[in-house]
Amino acid sequence: MSNGRPFRTAAALLVALGASVPVHTAMESALAANLRDTGLFESGSVERIRAANEEFTPQFPLWTDGQSKRRWLYLPAGSAVDKSDPDRWEFPRGTRAWKEFSDGGRIETRFIERLADGSWRFATYVWNSEGTEATLAPAGGLPKRGIPSRVDCLACHEGAPAPILGYSAVQLGGAIAARTPHERAAMGYLHGNCGHCHNANALEATGLFLAQSAAAPSESAGKTRASVAERAPEILRRVQSENRYVRMPPLGVAVADRHGLAPIRRWIQNDLQPHKGDIK
């Protein structure tokens, strides 16, 4: 197998020229060693985003210890997302997505790419302290810095019907069949933070159904209502736990989201278990 360097050089040139980015296969293309070679930025910049990359914001973002995030999606020229199944958007080969994490300065940028054979690959680029360059993290991640391994990426992103979790019908404004505003807030939070694993496809065995469906919103809301009502104390205990072996989600969170969890407590206390009084 070749080392892929000529291919990467050609790809970088195409990006620099503003051309459509080629669709990679895993065999022909190693992951770029530097974020600037993934097609996120305009040539020569690590600030200016290429016009072809659409910035998007999910309505129920994942809590990641209070870090701020920006997200972009690239679709190859002339292609589009097949939205015929509202719960399983089909992204074209060559799709790329980035998510940048910041906390004062840029920390890391995560990268997802759909290859020519339809498979997806995942990588993380770590920013230097000056914020001038982001380089590919090792496959095993950098645990001491909270940088996930590529296997860790799969734990969340392979559990949902489509791996770009924030770019879906529900996340881009789809309605949730909630009966009250705090139920909507709670269900949305659970969808964005838990639903990618706690759904019938990935972890039916847990008996928790926390993902909302754009195709059958009433049905998914009913399942969420029932499973949260049955397991409310355990859910609240685990999402607030200081013990990382117990805390949910099990990845990417070191500090419980006290503010974000408030709607869930209100929902349980006011709607699901009003007879049980105050809850912690």
């Binding site: 734990a155 972890l203 065995a205 008996g207 013990n243 072996y245 117990v246």
Partner: protein, 185 residues
């Protein structure tokens, strides 16, 4: 002293030695799974050990049911270096630099064991080192990296056997982080 004797006996293998098992055909997954479970050390940690008339032995009335919830566990003593790990006499609880881990209930009890798991949940756990492939990491001393060498058919056979054994209701305690383990002292 009893603990030390138990561990020494366990490690030396000078224990109750069961009859040798013949390797069954792969066409019988349950028999194949029993063979693998019985030859790969699963009982060593997932079946609680008791002191019997012949010395420490696995309590097969609670086979593969994990750390017994009825055993009150005081905080683990911190061993002096270069000792690293403390093991309970049941051989089902382990304290080390990662905190304290308790072996899982592998029986098909629906509430406290693997009763609701699918073969895929089990395979994903061994393949990724995370519960069901997505949850928290499987903690030491579970040798996931060793069992990851089983092929998929072997893992499915193990799971088929685990589904065939008696369900034991036993809610294993949650693991403790190092700081939690220290705070318990």
């Amino acid at each position: 002293m009893r603990f030390m004797l138990s561990v020494a006996a366990i490690l030396s293998g000078a224990l109750v030695v069961p009859d040798a098992l013949a390797a069954p055909a792969a066409s019988d997954p349950v028999a194949r799974g029993k063979y693998i479970v019985s030859t790969s050390g699963c009982h060593d940690c997932h079946t609680p050990w008791v002191l019997g008339p012949k010395g420490p032995e696995p309590d097969m009335t609670r086979a593969l049911s994990g750390h017994p919830s009825d055993v009150k566990m005081p905080a683990a003593p911190r061993p002096a270096e270069p000792w690293l790990v403390t093991i309970a006499a049941t051989n089902t609880a382990f304290a080390g630099p990662w905190g304290v881990s308790f072996t899982a209930n592998l029986t098909p009890d629906k509430e406290t064991g693997l009763g609701k798991w699918t073969p895929k949940n089990f395979r994903d756990t061994i393949r990724t080192g995370r519960h069901m492939g997505r949850g928290r990491e499987v903690l030491p001393p579970m040798p996931v990296m060793v069992y990851n060498n089983f092929d998929d058919a072997d893992l499915e056979a193990i799971f088929a056997y685990l589904r065939s054994i008696p369900a034991v209701k036993n809610k294993v305690p949650e693991p403790l982080e190092p700081r939690a383990a220290l705070a318990a002292k």
